[in-house]
């Protein structure tokens, strides 16, 4: 020792060091250095627990917590000293155990090579210094603890922030893995979530390539299954070190997945117990957030799906409501196609309907809705987007402006596809009863072949007639859905997006399918209703006919009885009047009286024969005849009417007329009646036109005769009665002319129609069946 240390200077240095911010290790080293220099010692050490020999002298000192020194005046002869300690201890030394309340911190040891005296002041100074050193160590420990706690807290805070910052599953998972990496100082991390439906454990987020290691997935599955966290520090020749931390994500609902981290960014790169605890804390905290996010994710997925469904259902409901407004076939079909094409409805560009004809086993183009070209499409869509009515109103009103003359409509109406034509998609839709969605058909069989014999398919004809002109049809995408009636396919709806080229999705097709099944029923109903109406009409006609015939039969019976009873008296009245007439001289007034009786009797007899003619059932004598000849004969019976030239006669007989089958006498009667009526209706000047033409209806050959006059026409009030017997508007006559005409024509299986223009004239149109053989063939 160079001398008594300057106690003040020494303490000042020690306290300065103690309060400085240098790390504890350096701090202690400098303190020991300072002490050594101040006392001139050979040794100045801080003996840690691990440096102290067990059960030795020093360990006893540590236990006793008492300072101990040896100098010139004292020795430790009485003490039991371990041989290793003997080597170490100097002749003069001071040992001061350092304590932090109960925790042993170490022993401050100062040794001198030579024996020297230790002044009591020196001992006091060393005790003070030791105390200060103990304080410094304690402070350092505290500081370390505080720092660690605060960093963990900061890490957990960060996790918490991550957990609450977002409900978006992706983002949450990403931030959890990232925060975990930062907290645990790991090189990689994997987060797995178990799919609730498939029970499959899927990697949701990972950093590094650890998830590719087969061991990783095994561990994750084990952790998930056992719900127990797992720590592995794996040492092997190949991989220097593999350290894995894996914890289950447990929530109240069960286990959600696993969270794993790999290889610490430190040396050695392995995780310790505290990292493990930290991971468990993290996993517990995050599980709840993940569960919430998962639930939120699933809920929003569901909500989105529901919203879409509801929107579709509303559209379907509105469209169905529109369909309920009518049972008229044409209108239902128009509304269906409008609903499919309208933007607020199903929004396809064009829609075409084909109905199955059971009789001919073919599909017949029924109607098409859609613009003829892109400009028209743009115009329509702009107009429609400005309308603000409800969908139902829109659909029910729109069809009124339906353009039945569109090119598309007329093309589709001309299409007829035999169902046997199985390579056509439309036929297949019917036969297989399922929809087709054809995107840019590549194969021949995916094309729409509506008219095989002409070799053109709908794709080039309807789909893209523009392309056909260019000789290079564009690829044509379209979809078909079957139209279901009750238990059978009644037709096909074809849709496309020719103008905006929007792809047709499976979902579009699904909605179209739903709507089509409703529309199918409505269309089937309308068809049934239409059939019903037709049948009803036929029945009504049959009923009218039956009633009419019944009336006639009764009338016939009645009148023939009466006629017989009246005829005999008439014969004798007339006969004797004639006898009287002959016996009365020319100049006698009685001559005129009897003549009047004779004339009136003749008139009565004429009425009687008309009546009997009408009511009796004469067997018809059918012959093959030339109608113009019959007409000429009838004309000759009224020829005197044309003599004064007031009435013009126009004849228009077609060349190459087929022959007709009929009773020439009765037909002569028919035309005679018609001519007589016409000529009687023409007051003064006028015209009688006769036209005879061959026509064809429903595949059978007919002859059409028109008798047109420029007379007064028929009072609309009487029109429905003209074929009823005794309904004469003439001052004379029984009113049996037209009824007889009607009777004769119907017994010839012909038809009679009246085209009446009151005040202008009337045209009687008679159609009679022709014989199959044509004249001259």
């Amino acid at each position: 020792m160079s001398g008594d240390p300057d106690a003040y200077e020494l303490l000042k240095s020690i306290i300065d060091l103690s309060t400085s911010s240098i790390p504890i290790k350096a701090k202690l080293e400098q303190m020991l250095q300072t002490i050594s220099e101040a006392f001139g010692s050979d040794q100045c050490l801080l003996l840690r627990r691990e440096k102290i020999v067990e059960n030795g002298f020093l360990s006893r000192l540590a236990l006793e917590r008492k300072p101990f020194w040896v100098d010139e005046e004292s020795s430790y002869s009485g003490e039991r000293i371990h041989p290793r300690e003997k080597e170490f201890l100097r002749p003069t030394f001071v040992c001061i155990p350092l304590y932090d309340t109960t925790t042993f911190l170490g022993i401050l040891y100062i040794g001198f090579s030579k024996k020297r005296k230790l002044a009591p002041q020196e001992i006091d100074l060393l005790l003070l210094i030791a105390k200060e050193m103990g304080e410094a160590i304690r402070n350092a420990h505290l500081l370390q603890k505080v720092e660690q706690t605060s960093s963990e807290l900061a890490a957990l805070h960060e996790m918490g922030k991550a957990a609450t910052s977002t409900l978006k599953l992706e983002e949450l998972l990403e931030s959890i893995v990232k925060a975990g990496l930062k907290i645990l100082k790991a090189k990689g991390g994997v987060l797995r979530i178990e799919d609730r439906r498939t029970k499959e454990l899927k990697v949701q987020w990972s950093l590094g390539s650890y998830h590719q290691n087969p061991l990783d997935e095994k561990i994750a599955k084990r952790v998930l299954f056992t719900r127990t966290p797992f720590l592995l520090n794996h040492f092997s020749q190949d991989n220097p070190i593999l350290s894995i931390l894996c914890a289950p994500l447990l929530s109240k609902g069960g286990v959600l997945g696993t969270l794993a981290f790999y290889d610490k960014e430190a040396d050695p790169s392995k995780f310790d117990e505290s990292d493990f605890q930290l991971l468990l804390t993290m996993a517990n905290q995050m599980a709840c957030a993940i569960e919430n996010a998962l639930t939120h994710y699933e809920t929003s997925q569901l909500a989105e799906a529901n919203e879409r469904r509801v929107r579709q259902l509303i559209i379907l409901w509105e469209l169905n409501k529109a369909l309920l407004t009518t049972v008229n076939f044409e209108r239902i079909v128009q509304m269906t196609l409008t609903a499919i094409t309208i933007g607020a409805g199903l929004g396809f560009n064009r829609a075409m309907l084909f109905i199955v004809n059971e009789r001919t086993r073919s599909l017949e183009g029924t109607m098409a809705v859609g613009p003829d070209n892109a400009e028209e499409a743009g115009k329509i869509w702009t107009t429609l987007s400005q309308r603000r009515e409800s969908l139902t109103d829109l659909v029910t009103q729109l069809h009124l402006s339906f353009d039945s003359n569109s090119t598309l409509n007329s093309i589709v109406k001309g299409i007829q596809i035999p169902l046997e034509q199985e390579q056509c998609i439309l036929s297949r839709t019917v036969l297989e009863g399922r929809p087709f969605n054809i995107q840019f058909p590549q194969a021949e069989e995916e094309r729409l072949q509506t008219r095989c014999e002409r070799g053109c398919h709908l794709g080039s004809e309807v789909g893209c007639y523009v392309g056909e002109h260019l000789g290079d049809p564009r690829p044509y995408s379209f979809a078909t859905v079957p139209l279901w009636g009750k238990g059978k396919v009644i037709g096909v709806i074809l849709v496309d997006n020719l103008y905006n080229q929007n792809p047709i999705t499976e979902e579009d097709l699904q909605v179209l399918g739903m709507f089509s099944s409703q529309a199918g029923l409505a269309i089937e109903n309308a068809m049934l209703y239409r059939n019903l109406e037709e049948v009803h009409q036929t029945l009504k006609e049959a009923q009218t006919f039956l009633v009419h015939r019944e009336k006639m039969a009764a009338l016939g019976e009645l009148s023939s009885t009466i006629a017989h009873e009246i005829r005999n008296p008439l014969v004798s009245i007339g006969g004797f009047a004639r006898r009287l007439y002959r016996s009365i001289p020319e100049e006698a007034p009685e001559k005129r009286y009897t003549q009047t009786i004779m004339i009136e009797v003749s008139r009565l007899e004429k009425i009687l024969s008309d009546l009997l003619n009408y009511t009796r059932y004469d067997a018809l004598v059918f012959k093959e005849l030339n109608l113009p000849d019959v007409l000429e004969e009838s004309l000759s019976m009224v020829s005197e009417k044309f003599e004064d030239g007031a009435i013009e006669l126009i004849k228009e007989f077609a060349q190459d007329l087929p022959k007709a089958m009929g009773d020439p006498q009765q037909l002569k009667q028919v035309f005679f009646s018609l001519f007589s009526n016409s000529l009687q209706a023409i007051k003064g000047k006028g015209r009688l036109s006769l036209r005879v033409h061959p026509i064809s209806k429903n595949g059978s050959s007919l002859i059409r005769v028109e008798v047109e006059d420029t007379g007064s026409g028929i009072d609309p009030e009487n029109l429905h009665n003209i074929f009823n017997p005794f309904y004469s508007t003439k001052e004379s006559g029984l009113g049996l002319g037209l009824p007889l005409v009607y009777k004769i024509i119907t017994s010839h299986r012909g038809q009679i129609e009246v085209d009446n223009h009151p005040g202008e004239g009337v045209t009687f149109i008679i159609t009679l069946p022709a014989t199959q053989e044509r004249e001259g063939k």
């Binding site: 014969v571 006969g575 006898r579 004779m598």
Partner: protein, 118 residues
């Protein structure tokens, strides 16, 4: 003088035919129905018969059949208020069919023709 048998249930018709035909120079006998006509036939031996169809008792068609069973040469003119039997009767049994009419011109000319008179 040619003899004509007029068969009719109507008194006024019988009277008219009788008056008219006698005036034209025929000998006329009348019968009110088929039975009476068949009774009078063998004794009167007419050259021509006019036969009404609708009569009470034996009607004209039955009478015609009966007469034709025994002899076929006497001309028979069917006279009726109806026109419907015209085709049938003229084809199989009678010689003429006349729808009764106040104007007897047709009847008289038919009789003359059938009797070969001018």
């Amino acid at each position: 003088m040619k003899k004509i048998l007029v068969v009719d249930d109507e008194e006024s018709i019988r009277f008219l035919y009788q008056e008219e035909l006698q005036e034209d120079g025929f000998e006329v006998e009348v019968a009110v129905n088929g039975e009476e006509a068949l009774q009078k036939l063998p004794r009167f031996k007419p050259d021509l018969i006019t036969l009404d169809i609708k009569m009470p008792g034996m009607n004209g068609i039955e009478t015609l059949k009966k007469i034709r069973e025994t002899e076929r040469k006497t001309p028979i003119i069917m006279c009726s208020a109806y026109g419907e039997y015209k085709q049938d009767l003229t084809t199989w049994a009678s010689d003429a069919y006349i729808v009764k009419c106040a104007d007897l011109t047709e009847l008289k000319s038919t009789i003359r023709k059938l009797l070969g008179l001018r």
